[in-house]
């Protein structure tokens, strides 16, 4: 008998007058020690299915037709009490956002021990020992110290480890991981994947891994389920599906993964220098300590120099905290207290941000948003209309969306609007801060294509900031590797990726699984 058997699970939401079905006839079976991946884009129903499995959806939302059998027990009809007995003890889940999934006002130890308090009769001392064991299994350094700390004192990667420790403290049979690495840097991502593999080997814990990152799924999972619009389109052995996808959707998903294997054709229309950054230093102030005293300065940029030429796409790669965003802010003028020189393209630098969901004013129409920069420079109304329409066409949007509001658009459309907005005032340089990392792979590929086309048509120079080495390989002509506020290595992607000299570059390449490098 399989450990987990899901048959024809249907999930409907009844918030509105018409019930909205988000998952149709989902079926899945998992044995002890299996690692199964669910892939699909946002809205495909993968997270909803996972939440249903751990009893986190209201039963009201699930139609009675399907069945979830866990070790022979019917989860959809059992009593709530029985379900709670399984939650955290037999079935555990970790979530995408380690920053918000932990209670901010409770200590780590308290949270890791919670499942023990709920499901066992251990004494305080036994619980403490078990919690320390779990923290150690999750490979947290100094578990005794972490035990007494609060979530805000830990980094994102450490918090995700804490989540894992809390999930495995009762040694569950199955661990559901809902996009556990999406919010993390590549090297941390790699560590978390290894940790999950170790837990699977050591304890035989089955893992249901939900992700939109196909390369991660390929590395980790034995089997994979591909979902689209609430339905399973294809499932089977991971390698088989990746090599011979039978469904169009799967083929499209796989084709959209940026690849670093293909040769790049060099872009040969690079012109004069439009932006020159020389010996840039910038720092941030810590919170002040006395009433009148100031805090310590923390240096985030330590002497950055580079040039950007017309028509060039320059990649800037580094992990969180390396100073990427500070650099971008200094260049576009959002941060002014820096030392060093930033020359060229005065007033003709615009920025595109990572999150297309929150960077557009929700109470204004697309029309209004796009016209604003023109209003500021005093262009007449009819001319503004015409320009907005032209720009919408240019970024590949229907002109009909002009009178809609941002919330009526999809993520990809919003990012196109953000790009259009940045281009309204005809800039010479575009600073794009992680413009595609919040988007699904297929949308990602479209936006990258759009940026490449815009550079061709408008001779735009783009500073492309990203932590995704594959994306950078795909689009950039030259790459800068940034570590702790310094450029440690730079060059053409095709040479840099194959003959990396600096240890940090090698580490990044290895962690993202781009190229097998021996360190």
């Amino acid at each position: 008998m399989q450990m987990l058997e899901v048959q024809d699970l249907n999930i409907e939401f009844h918030d509105h007058s018409m019930p909205e079905t988000v998952v149709y006839d989902f079926s899945l079976s998992m044995a002890e020690g299996d690692i199964v991946g669910i892939v699909g884009e946002s809205g495909s129903g993968k997270t909803m299915s996972a939440l249903a499995l751990c009893g986190l959806l209201s039963r009201h939302d699930m139609t009675r037709r399907g069945r979830i059998l866990f070790q022979g027990k019917e989860l959809l009809t059992c009593s709530r009490q029985d379900m709670r007995q399984l939650q955290g003890r037999e079935i555990s889940i970790i979530f995408q956002e380690p920053m918000t999934s932990l209670n901010p006002v409770k200590t780590i130890g308290w949270q890791v021990e919670e499942a023990l308090r709920l499901h066992t009769r251990m004494t305080r001392k036994e619980r403490y020992e078990k919690a320390i064991w779990a923290l150690r299994e999750a490979e947290l350094p100094e578990p005794e110290r972490v035990y007494g700390q609060y979530p805000h004192e830990l980094s994102g990667g450490m918090r995700q480890r804490v989540m894992i420790a809390a999930a495995i403290v009762c040694q569950p049979r199955i661990l559901i991981a809902d996009e556990p690495t999406t919010a993390l840097d590549v090297t941390i991502q790699d560590q978390i994947i290894r940790l999950l593999q170790k837990l699977n080997k050591e304890f035989g814990t089955a893992i249901l891994f939900i992700s939109h990152d196909l390369s991660l799924v390929r590395r980790l999972c034995h089997r994979v389920v591909v979902m689209q619009n609430g339905q399973i389109v294809e499932q089977g052995d991971t390698e088989k599906i990746f090599r011979n996808p039978t469904q169009d959707y799967t083929k499209r998903l796989i084709a959209a993964i940026p690849s670093c294997d293909k040769e790049k054709t060099e872009w040969n229309q690079i012109g004069t220098v439009v932006l020159k950054v020389e010996d840039l230093h910038a720092s941030y102030e810590d919170a002040g300590n006395g009433i009148f005293r100031h805090g310590k300065e923390k240096e985030v940029l330590k002497g950055i120099s580079f040039r950007l030429r017309q028509g060039e796409i320059l990649g800037l790669v580094g992990e969180s905290g390396c100073g990427k965003s500070t650099l971008a802010k200094s260049i576009v003028g959002l941060k002014r207290d820096y030392q060093g020189r930033i020359v060229g393209a005065e007033g003709r630098i615009r920025m595109v941000f990572q999150d297309p969901y929150s960077s557009l004013n929700p109470s204004r129409t697309i029309d209004w948003i796009l016209e604003e920069p023109l209003k500021l420079s005093g262009v007449s109304k009819s001319e503004r209309r015409e320009k907005v329409r032209e720009m919408l066409r240019r970024v590949g949007l229907e002109t009909g969306i002009a009178d809609r509001y941002p919330r009526q658009l999809s993520g990809g459309q919003r990012q196109r609007v953000c790009i259009a907005l940045a281009l309204m005032s005809e800039p010479a340089v575009l600073v794009a801060d992680e413009p595609v990392s919040a988007l699904d792979v297929t949308i990602q590929a479209q936006i990258l294509k759009l940026l490449a086309r815009l550079r061709e048509e408008m001779g735009l120079a783009i500073l492309f900031i990203s932590h995704d080495l594959r994306v950078v390989y795909e689009i950039c002509d030259r790459v800068l590797i940034l570590q702790n506020g310094q450029i440690v290595e730079q060059g053409l992607p095709q040479t840099l990726y194959r003959h990396a000299a600096h240890a940090y570059t090698k580490q990044l390449l290895k962690a993202s699984g781009v190229v097998e490098v021996n360190i």
Binding site: C54, L56, R80, R84, Q85, L86, Q87, G88, R89, S92, I93, F95, E97, T100, S101, L102, N103, P104, V105, K106, E114, A115, L118, H119, Y150, H152, E153, M163, A166, D286, A287, G288, N289, G290, I291
Partner: protein, 317 residues
């Protein structure tokens, strides 16, 4: 500890500023205390003599320093209208108002936290809707009016207390507290309604957070998620609100003391203002300011005790 020390220092500084402003105001406002004491019929010579005697002719800053120093020593000067020192006068009244405010705060905490939890847990139920409607009504009734209603209901119909029959705490403590119980209800009622409403919405908001979902995933039942996880997070804005409510209540007691004829701070303030008894008014205003500042300081300290994120900023220094 350093955080607390710093807090106290800022509080003292604020208090100093307030005392200066109060002194300045009472120097500038028209009305000569010497005339007020002697009456408008007094001869200019007599008034001038009294001004000299009261020290009113000295330079402003000297008078301020003098006043501040004696104030710090607990000597608030003498009342113009009562023939006793301001300190003695107030010492008698402060416990009354304070007891009443503390009783109201206790009522708010004891009644509104369980009600808030209940309504948040049973969101959308009939009782939740009923409490919501009741809240809207209670919030709209000012304390003096609910005070009159309470006097009518508990005092005249049910005869649970004698309206106007205030008992001093020096003679009978239980009688004193028993009498104050009813005005405390009048003060507390609108605040209870507000606290329930605020706590309910905070709890419902916090319940949607990711960490609450994590708590459910470990096998907690709804009560466990609410009491063990959500409540502490939802309490942060409530504590800020209670701090503001407390200071507001002390100020509001002026009216309620009139309705229930309680000889507290509010009453003495009103009579002193109408009699231009400036030393008393000044002392009361500075004391009220001190209470507001101290309560806010205490709130900040409680806040950082509950929320470790604030604690960290304090300890970093």
């Amino acid at each position: 500890m350093k955080y607390v020390g710093r807090k106290i220092l800022t509080m003292l500084f604020t208090l100093l500023l307030v005392s200066f402003l109060v002194f300045l105001c009472f120097t500038v406002i028209p009305g000569d205390p010497a005339i007020a004491r002697l009456g408008t019929d007094a001869t200019p010579e007599a008034i001038e003599m009294l001004r000299e005697e009261m020290g009113l002719n000295r330079p402003f800053l000297v008078r301020y320093a003098d006043w501040l120093l004696s104030f710090a020593r607990g000597n608030f000067g003498d009342s113009y209208s009562y023939s006793m020192s301001v300190a003695d006068l107030l010492l008698d009244k402060v416990p009354i108002t304070l007891a009443m405010s503390l009783m109201s705060i206790a009522m708010i905490v004891v009644i509104s936290i369980p009600l808030g939890l209940y309504t948040a847990r049973h969101e959308g139920s009939v009782i939740d809707k009923l409490i919501y409607a009741l809240n809207q009504v209670i919030m709209a009734v000012p304390p003096f009016f609910s005070g009159i209603l309470i006097t009518l209901l508990f005092g005249i119909f049910l005869k649970l207390f004698t309206p106007g029959g205030y008992v001093s705490y020096t003679t009978d403590v239980t009688g004193f507290l028993g009498y104050l119980f009813f005005p405390s209800i009048a003060i507390a009622l609108p605040k209870i309604a507000m606290t329930v409403k605020l706590l309910r919405s905070e709890l419902i908001e916090e319940k949607k957070q990711d960490y609450a979902r994590t708590a459910y995933s470990r096998g907690n039942h709804t009560g466990g998620v609410l009491y063990k996880h959500v409540l502490k997070n939802a309490m942060l804005p409530i504590i800020t609100f209670l701090g503001m409510a407390f200071t507001d209540m002390i100020a509001g007691s002026i009216v309620v003391e009139q309705v229930f004829s309680i000889p507290g701070i509010g009453r003495i303030l009103l009579t002193s203002i109408s009699r231009r008894d400036y030393p008393v008014v000044m002392a009361v205003v500075v004391c009220l300011a001190a209470v507001v500042i101290v309560v806010n300081g205490v709130i900040d300290i409680i806040y950082q005790w509950i929320d470790p994120r604030i604690r960290l900023e304090g300890e970093k220094s």
